[in-house]
């Protein structure tokens, strides 16, 4: 098994609301990402997947956020690092790409300047021409046909797919060991989406980069990930290798998610959906947070929050009654 790059233990992220009121967006999640592995982090909007990734990078505002737990990256405890030490890791050893490529690039800065900023920040002592050469190489790596021209462009002169390629090029320009991709394909159309995913796989294969892919799209997960983590309302509810998860989902929520994806060639009268919606962060149900929406819920589900337990090889689930779910499935 490959070395563990990122180890998150019991991560809890709270946001300040009002004077003394804190709301919990991520409620103690633990997971790992290994080198050369693409891990999918899935869940509905508001389940805490983006908050988790931003907490790992420590990109939340210090003034209204409280992050506890442990984040270990190659033996370094990220939550305990000083801000300048963290800056050396960001963009250098852990990079991030975001959902809206058009707005994630500075609109009034040329692409070259934005790339240069990242490269020269983490590689001091490179000459101007060396930095330029690395910019060109970074764009070539992501399959941009005319790098010299693109470097002179402003973001508004590029398409969304091109912007996302530039974002990936920027993220990869310092050859990070871990890439966090927060919904990288959500804002792109399907053909571009496939290209971007292929590009991320290619980067993983060539550089042995660990990738944490955050998405709400199970299709994307099935296509690219080797392992999947399912989050619901700030908790991890299930974690399994991708094939196992799709073939043999244990948690009722995972099952519901998979069933609600339409499939070609399968006739259904009405697409099954999960009733209700994600609970509000300030009004979390007691016990299992999925219980109010769960078809298999029992009275004892509301008593206490179920723990994530091993249910098979590499397969963890946070539902003590998963056996019933499987039987009926």
């Amino acid at each position: 098994m490959a070395e563990t790059l990122l180890e998150v233990k019991d991560l809890k992220t709270e946001f300040k609301r009002g004077k003394k009121d804190w709301i919990t967006a991520v409620n103690g999640v633990s997971f790992q990402v290994r080198a050369g592995e693409i891990v999918g982090l899935v869940g509905e909007s508001g389940c805490g997947k983006s908050v988790t990734s931003l907490s790992v990078m420590r990109l939340h505002s210090k003034h209204n956020t409280r992050i506890t737990g442990e984040v270990t990256f190659e033996g370094k405890h990220l939550l305990e690092l000083k801000e300048p030490e963290m800056q050396e890791i960001r963009g250098n050893e852990i990079s991030m790409i975001f959902q809206e490529p058009m707005s994630a690039l500075d609109p009034i800065m040329r692409i070259e300047d934005q790339l240069t900023e990242a490269i020269s920040l983490h590689n001091q002592g490179l000459s101007k021409s060396e930095v330029h050469a690395r910019c060109v190489r970074a764009l070539k790596l992501v399959g941009i046909p005319e790098p010299e021209m693109t470097l002179r462009n402003y973001p508004h002169e590029l398409s969304g797919g091109m912007c996302q390629r530039v974002m990936i090029a920027m993220a990869m320009s310092c050859e990070p060991k871990l890439l966090i991709a927060d919904e990288p394909t959500t804002a792109l159309d399907v053909t571009i989406q496939a290209q971007i995913l292929a590009l991320m796989e290619q980067i993983r294969n060539e550089h042995n980069t660990g990738i944490l892919l955050i998405t709400h799209d199970l299709g994307v997960v099935a296509e690219t990930c080797s392992r999947v983590i399912v989050m619901y309302a700030g908790n991890i509810v299930e974690e399994a290798p991708v094939k196992e998860l799709f073939r043999n989902p244990h948690h009722p929520y995972t099952k519901g998610l998979i069933e609600s994806v339409p499939r070609l060639g399968r006739r259904v009268r009405r697409l099954p959906s999960i009733p209700g919606s994600v609970p509000d962060l300030s009004a979390m149900p007691s016990g299992c947070r999925f219980a109010p929406r769960c078809a298999y819920a029992r009275p004892e589900c509301s008593a206490r929050l179920p723990e994530l337990v091993e249910v098979g090889p590499d397969h963890k689930c946070a539902c003590p009654f998963y056996a019933n779910v499987r039987k009926e499935a």
């Binding site: 990078m57 800056q87 975001f98 500075d106 609109p107 009034i108 990242a118 508004h156 974002m167």
Partner: protein, 306 residues
């Protein structure tokens, strides 16, 4: 870029033409007979007619306009009948004073306004923010003539540090430019703050942080650079208020500048001086807006091709 500037300069010509027509018609628009004003209250009807002829006011409008505008192109801005000199001679000592005062006011108010705005945005919701916005509210609410008088009371009368008026040396400029710039400083502080807060929440700022840039660089090179687009726009819009402010403040501090000249000329109905001053202020406004537009295009690549 050169093409854009040229286009922008050329577009000033029709605007100046329209302004010159309005300024020219001004002499016919305001109540009262210009020829009688010039001739004086005791003049006979015959004397008034003679003055009318001398001023060319008996001719049709178009020849009058052509004569006037040709004169202006030759540097002949008209004659001040009250002072018995040419308008150009009246302008010569006053123009540098007003320009210097304007530059002083803009410089300090823009710098301080931006600093207050940025500091407030970074410390949003905390003491420094509150303090900054308190200063801004005060700057917007206090009328500049009142502020001028208060500054005079405190620094000149009570403390005796600065002169109450006049321009013996550079210290004479301090209080007037403080009074003139306070409003702009306040508006800029507020605009900078809200623009910075907006930009600091943008995705590209998060990207900049995710790259590992130090916070100071994230704020200056990304958020502030984007905010400067808003700041330039608002500054240019405030120039009108600044010119109006110079009229009041020069009067309060008895500074012999163009603003004071305007007030005096209006009092004496010295038409040709008023005309020349309005033309000058319009021109000043246009030039400053031109500079703002060029800066705007330099910073914002999205407007250059439009």
């Amino acid at each position: 870029m050169g093409k854009y500037i040229l286009k922008r300069v050329l577009s000033m010509i029709p605007l100046l033409f329209v302004v010159s027509i309005l300024v020219f018609l001004f002499i016919h628009l305001i109540p009262g007979d210009a020829a009688r004003q010039v001739a004086g209250a005791t003049a006979t009807a015959g004397e008034v007619e003679a003055v009318r002829k001398q001023l060319g006011l008996d001719q049709p409008l178009i020849p009058q306009y052509i004569q006037w505008i040709t004169g202006i192109f030759h540097g002949d801005l008209g004659i001040s009948y009250t002072n018995n000199t040419t308008v150009a001679e009246l302008f010569a000592p006053r123009l540098p004073i007003t320009i210097y005062l304007t530059i002083c006011s803009i410089t300090w108010s823009v710098l301080i306004g931006i600093v207050i705005g940025v500091v407030a945005a970074i410390n949003r919701g905390r003491t420094l923010d509150m303090l900054g916005m308190l200063i801004a509210i005060a700057g917007i609410s206090l009328p500049n003539f009142w502020l001028g008088l208060q500054l005079m009371q405190i620094f000149s009368v009570n403390l005796g540090l600065l002169p109450t008026g006049g321009l013996e040396d550079w210290r004479g400029y301090i209080l007037p430019s403080l009074a003139m710039g306070a409003g702009i400083m306040a508006i800029l502080a507020r605009v900078t703050r809200s623009s910075m807060i907006e930009n600091l929440g943008k995705d590209y700022v998060r990207t900049a942080r995710a790259k590992g840039l130090p916070e100071s660089r994230v704020i200056m090179a990304h958020a502030f650079k984007n905010s400067s687009i808003d700041i330039i726009t608002v500054t240019a819009l405030q120039i009108g208020a600044l010119i109006a402010g110079s009229v009041v403040v020069e009067t309060v501090f008895s500074i012999p500048g163009l603003g004071r000249l305007l007030v005096d000329s209006i009092g004496f109905r010295d038409y040709e001086v008023i005309q020349a001053l309005i033309l000058f202020f319009s021109f000043e406004y246009m030039v400053i807006n031109l500079i703002a537009d060029v800066l705007y295009a330099l910073i914002n690549p999205r407007v250059r091709y439009e």
